[in-house]
């Protein structure tokens, strides 16, 4: 039974600690992934981490916007959609988009903990009879959902046909574990967020401290939400930054001592989007002999898988090398970048190398 304002204690596996630990682990993985180039996406992940820590320092405000049932239900829906997205996500997308979604999921879980004032994991001596009843009811509902989910999966995996097992293994990729953890640790809080009525107005409850720290926290949360949208828009709006250079390759001598055909080293890199986008390189050495132009190395299908996506999905539309009848060499790599946050925002990037039989560069990139 509580006396005075509610401040639930913090057991070792409290919802917020698990969420923060998840964020730290994910940031660690993110750091490994983006270790080579510190770009906007990595900085954004660091910003999310900083936001989570700043928000945690602000007092929970009963009756604030997170106390409104509609907002809490919206948060539950968003968390459910993210979990489902992770559950059905293909393994190849997990490194880029999956990590971003995991971070969003962890931040959402932190918000959920604040919205429910961590009732789901609060000790009994810190909650009153109403809160205890709500917590027990939430646990009953949550674990019924968990048992049903796991039970159905087991039934499909063990009882059903080999086709359904194959379907299950296709559907459940890396996100199955994340989904299980989410259901195990956070579904009681999600149920509380869903069923708890609107909080009473804070007419005489603890007042929110409108100090600088709170304002900074609100600003950071706003920015953390807005940045992915802005980064998504940058994919369509920001110009594609292209850097390119060519240099003549030193002529090699054939075994008989004759000079070989002249060649040129081509290097180009296109960067689309800010923080969310991709870096698309094109590297090759092409030669010519007056009759035809040809590649010494590069300009193959393998050059179309060198792109590095940053929180964006990348689809190859065209990857083609051709030698025209006039002997000129043409290479086209056309790719489509799409934002996972705003799927209607996309950008097509084309890398082209056109070289005549006399070594004249018609188009690059």
């Amino acid at each position: 039974m509580t006396t005075g304002s509610l401040r639930p204690s913090h057991p070792l596996f409290a919802i917020d600690r698990v969420a923060v630990a998840l964020v730290i682990v994910l940031i660690g993985f993110g750091a490994l992934v983006w270790l080579e180039v510190v770009d906007g996406a990595f900085l954004y992940l660091l910003f999310l981490l900083a936001t989570a820590f700043v928000v945690r320092t602000v007092e929970v405000e009963p009756g604030a916007w997170l106390g409104v049932r509609l907002v809490r239900r919206g948060l539950v829906v968003v968390l459910t959609l993210i979990t489902l997205d992770l559950l059905t996500m293909h393994t190849t997308d997990f490194v880029n988009v999956g990590i971003a979604l995991l971070v969003l999921l962890a931040l959402g879980d932190v918000a959920l903990g604040r919205a429910t004032r961590r009732l789901a994991t609060a000790d009994e001596d810190r909650i009153d009879e109403r809160q205890e009843a709500m917590r027990n009811r939430a646990h009953r509902i949550a674990y019924a959902i968990l048992a049903t989910s796991v039970g159905l999966t087991v039934v499909v995996a063990e009882v059903a046909t080999p086709e359904s097992r194959r379907w299950l293994s296709d559907v459940l990729n890396g996100g199955a574990i994340v989904t299980f953890i989410q259901l195990l640790f956070f579904s009681p809080a999600m149920v509380i967020a869903w069923i708890e009525p609107d909080r009473i107005a804070d007419e005489d409850g603890p007042r929110m401290h409108r100090d600088l720290q709170t304002r900074v926290a609100y600003g950071m949360v706003t920015l953390a939400v807005a940045l992915p949208l802005l980064m998504s828009l940058s994919l369509a709006v920001a110009p594609v930054r292209v850097s390119a250079f060519t240099r003549p390759e030193p002529a090699l001598l054939s075994p008989s001592g004759e000079r070989t055909d002249p060649c040129t080293y081509f290097y180009a890199r296109a960067q689309a989007g800010i923080g969310l986008g991709a870096r698309i390189p094109l590297t090759a050495v092409a030669c010519w002999n007056g009759t035809t132009a040809y590649e010494q190395w590069g300009l193959n299908a393998s050059d179309c898988v060198q792109s590095v996506a940053e929180l964006a999905t990348l689809t190859t539309i065209e990857c083609r090398r051709a030698t025209a009848s006039d002997g000129s060499l043409h290479f086209t790599y056309r790719t489509l970048l799409r934002s996972p946050i705003l799927p209607f925002v996309s950008r097509e990037v084309v890398m082209t190398l056109d070289l005549t039989k006399d070594g004249k560069v018609v188009q690059f990139p």
Binding site: M1, T2, T3, G4, S5, L6, P62, I127, D128, E129, R130, Q131, A133, M134, R137, I195, E196, P197, R199, I200, E203, D204, G205, P206
Partner: protein, 98 residues
């Protein structure tokens, strides 16, 4: 389903209980107590006071007795299964119309 059961279902609280009518808001105002102060006096969270006032949570017998002790009134003066009349009306009932 009986008429009574249907009525109960319509007016059930969030946890499916039959609502309990109470005078806590009136008594609290009368004694110039904030929800926070009353919550501290009976040993619950102040949100719980709000939910009880709104009829969204039925307190346990133990908690109902604590309200009675704090207000110095019998339980039936604070809680009722039937809608409660204003206290003034109970103290000074209107004479029956002829």
């Amino acid at each position: 389903m009986s008429v009574r059961a249907k009525e109960d279902q319509k007016t059930a609280t969030a946890d499916g209980q039959r609502p309990l009518f109470n005078r806590i808001a009136v008594l609290r105002t009368e004694r110039q107590l904030s929800r926070q102060q009353l919550a501290e006096a009976v040993g619950v969270n102040y949100q719980t006071i709000g939910y009880i006032e709104r009829g969204e949570y039925n307190p346990s017998l133990e908690l109902a007795f604590r309200f009675a002790e704090v207000f110095g009134l019998p339980i039936e003066a604070i809680f009722s299964r039937q809608p409660l009349r204003p206290l003034s009306e109970e103290l000074y009932p209107r004479p029956p119309k002829e």
